[in-house]
């Protein structure tokens, strides 16, 4: 049985957050960080190893997607939003 260890989960969580914070677009960045946090929070109670593996693979898929999309977003940067300049 090749289960997903707690360390692996923590590590992918950190990776996802770190990558999500790199989105050049303010709205995508805010959404990605919020979505990752909420998804891990909502799935905290899962104990079934099969489910955990499924969620882990989904997180992995999203991590590679985010990395690709950060590159695309970087290619076509825009000016910052009003709200980013206020903060």
């Amino acid at each position: 049985m090749s289960g997903v260890s707690k360390r692996q989960i923590l590590s992918i969580y950190k990776f996802l957050i770190r990558e999500a914070e790199k989105f050049p677009n303010y709205n995508f960045r805010a959404y990605a960080v919020r979505r990752v946090k909420d998804a891990f929070h909502d799935n905290k109670g899962i104990t079934d190893p099969k489910q955990i593996k499924k969620q882990y693979d989904f997180a992995m898929e999203n991590l590679t997607m985010i990395r690709r999309q950060i590159i695309v977003g970087d290619l076509y940067r825009t000016d910052k939003l009003v709200i980013e300049n206020v903060q």
Binding site: F23, Y26, N27, F28, A30, Y31, A32, R35, D38, N62, M65, I66, R68, Q69, V72, G73, T78, D79, K80, L81, V82, I83, E84, N85, V86, Q87
Partner: protein, 456 residues
């Protein structure tokens, strides 16, 4: 060219130097922000619009269109970059891989609405889907039935299709709506005749966000054996829709309202019992002959991915919308009086908030809120200053219809943006009211409606 700019630069810097002599303390700032300061100094006073912030405006027009979700773009890119085959090419691998992608997307769209993939037709958008539904059904069944029922608050493309059919000799009933924007089921029942071939009523209104009782309308249409078409462009992916439970026979779907690409949409058309339509476009007979033309693989893949995400994220997104809209409304209502929400506050999609700020002219408020991308109504009619026909249909007074603004929230709207927008709206409404003589009279207790305006 060069000489021209050579002449301009010294004269400009001379003007700036003159300014910087006046207050030498911030001469660097003046040089950087010269034009901004100049325009602000030009019209001082508390009534001037002062845009202290700079940057791109915040997007608050999710009913007009939505940004493409990065996950959708990620699904589309391979079909723009690597797999360019025509999905209708049956003789080589390029065609097969594109066809497989299109069929997968068809399944994803069908999955979201509880339909069979064979019942999904890809079109260029909800406008085309509405045209095919309304004109297609009407013309196909024209020999026996020549009556169509719709509402006064439908999208322009449905109303215009009906107008075109009127020219062809069809009879159209435009149902009125109640003050909350929802149709009266008794009106609908009365409007249905044995002559009626189609009822077309939108699920969620694009301007005021009200949800029509689709399941009840579907049941009534089924019992009277009338086809039921609904324009779900604003509803799909935001509220649960099931074509079988709601007895929907035709449904229009748009890609760019659900974080998908523009230029793609779909039409759900029931197979059992079969609904027949007369195609509008002639050609190669793609999409079961109802919509000829090569299916755009990347766009279709994008629509499929958008539907897939919408299905997964619907509950999460809806909870977020409710949180944001509640926060926004609480802020507005706590600081401003005489604010009217257009449309039913309960039977509504929370991401569409249409507010009328009494004694404020809508266009001037829009101009003042230039840091926020807003609209007074639908994008199609945003160029004209006429009050929206939707607001007129729900019985909004002319002056209130002129002062309405639609706040469209979406998946990517943040709490900070909502706070910023609410704050700015409150500030500018208060400022505009302060200079309004009408507002002054209201504060003194004069009823505006009783005033006899003298004629010149």
């Amino acid at each position: 060219m060069f000489r021209l700019s050579k002449n301009i630069v010294p004269s400009l810097s001379k003007a700036l130097l003159k300014r910087s002599n006046q207050d030498q303390s911030n001469s660097i700032l003046v040089l950087l922000q010269g034009p901004r300061l100049l325009s602000d100094k030009a019209k001082p006073g508390k009534f001037a619009v002062q845009h202290e912030d700079f940057g791109r405006p915040l997007y608050f027009d999710a009913q007009a269109t939505t940004p493409v979700d990065p996950r959708v773009l990620d699904a589309m890119l391979p079909y723009l970059v690597s797999y360019h085959g025509n999905p209708h090419s049956r003789t080589h691998a390029y065609g097969w891989e594109s066809e497989a992608a299109v069929e997968k997307a068809r399944e994803q769209v069908a999955e979201l609405i509880g339909a069979d993939p064979k019942e999904i037709i890809f079109t260029s958008g909800a406008t085309e889907s509405n045209n095919i539904s309304v004109k297609g059904v009407a013309r196909f069944y024209a020999p026996r039935k020549k009556h169509i029922v719709t509402t006064q608050i439908e999208h322009k493309c449905v109303l215009d299709s009906c107008r075109a059919l009127e020219g062809e000799g069809f009879k159209i009933t435009y149902l009125p709506v109640q003050e909350n924007g929802i149709i009266d089921m008794k009106d609908l029942e009365k409007a249905l005749t044995p002559e009626t071939s189609l009822v077309s009523i939108m699920t969620v209104n694009n301007e005021i966000g009200v949800k029509q009782p689709i399941a009840e309308i579907g049941a009534m249409c089924k019992s009277k054996k009338v086809y039921f078409h609904t324009d779900a462009a604003q509803a799909l992916g935001k509220i649960p829709i099931n074509v079988n439970e709601m007895n929907i026979d035709l449904m229009s779907i748009s890609g760019h309202k659900i974080y998908g690409p523009k230029g793609i949409g779909a039409l759900y058309i029931r197979r059992r019992p079969r609904v027949r339509v007369e195609p509008i476009q002639s050609g190669g007979g793609q999409e079961r002959g109802m919509r000829s033309g090569t299916v755009p693989t990347p766009l279709v893949v994008g629509l499929g991915a958008a539907c897939d995400i919408a299905k997964r994220e619907m509950a999460y997104d809806h909870a977020w919308m409710e949180k944001l809209s509640q926060r926004f409304l609480d802020k507005i209502y706590s600081k401003l009086s005489h604010v009217i929400r257009n449309g039913d506050p309960k039977q509504t999609y929370p991401g569409c908030i249409n507010l009328s700020f009494a004694y404020v002219e809508g266009e001037s408020l829009l101009m003042a809120l230039k840091d926020i991308a807003l609209s007074s109504g639908s994008a199609c009619t945003s160029a004209s200053l006429e009050p929206s026909y939707v607001l007129r249909a729900i019985g909004t007074d002319e002056d209130l219809a002129h002062s309405s603004i639609r706040f469209g929230l979406g998946r990517f709207t943040t709490l900070e943006e909502v706070d910023y927008t609410a704050e700015k709206t409150i500030k500018h409404v208060e400022r505009l009211r302060e200079m309004s003589p009408l507002w002054e009279m209201v504060q003194e207790g004069v009823d505006i409606k009783t005033i006899q305006w003298s004629q010149h």
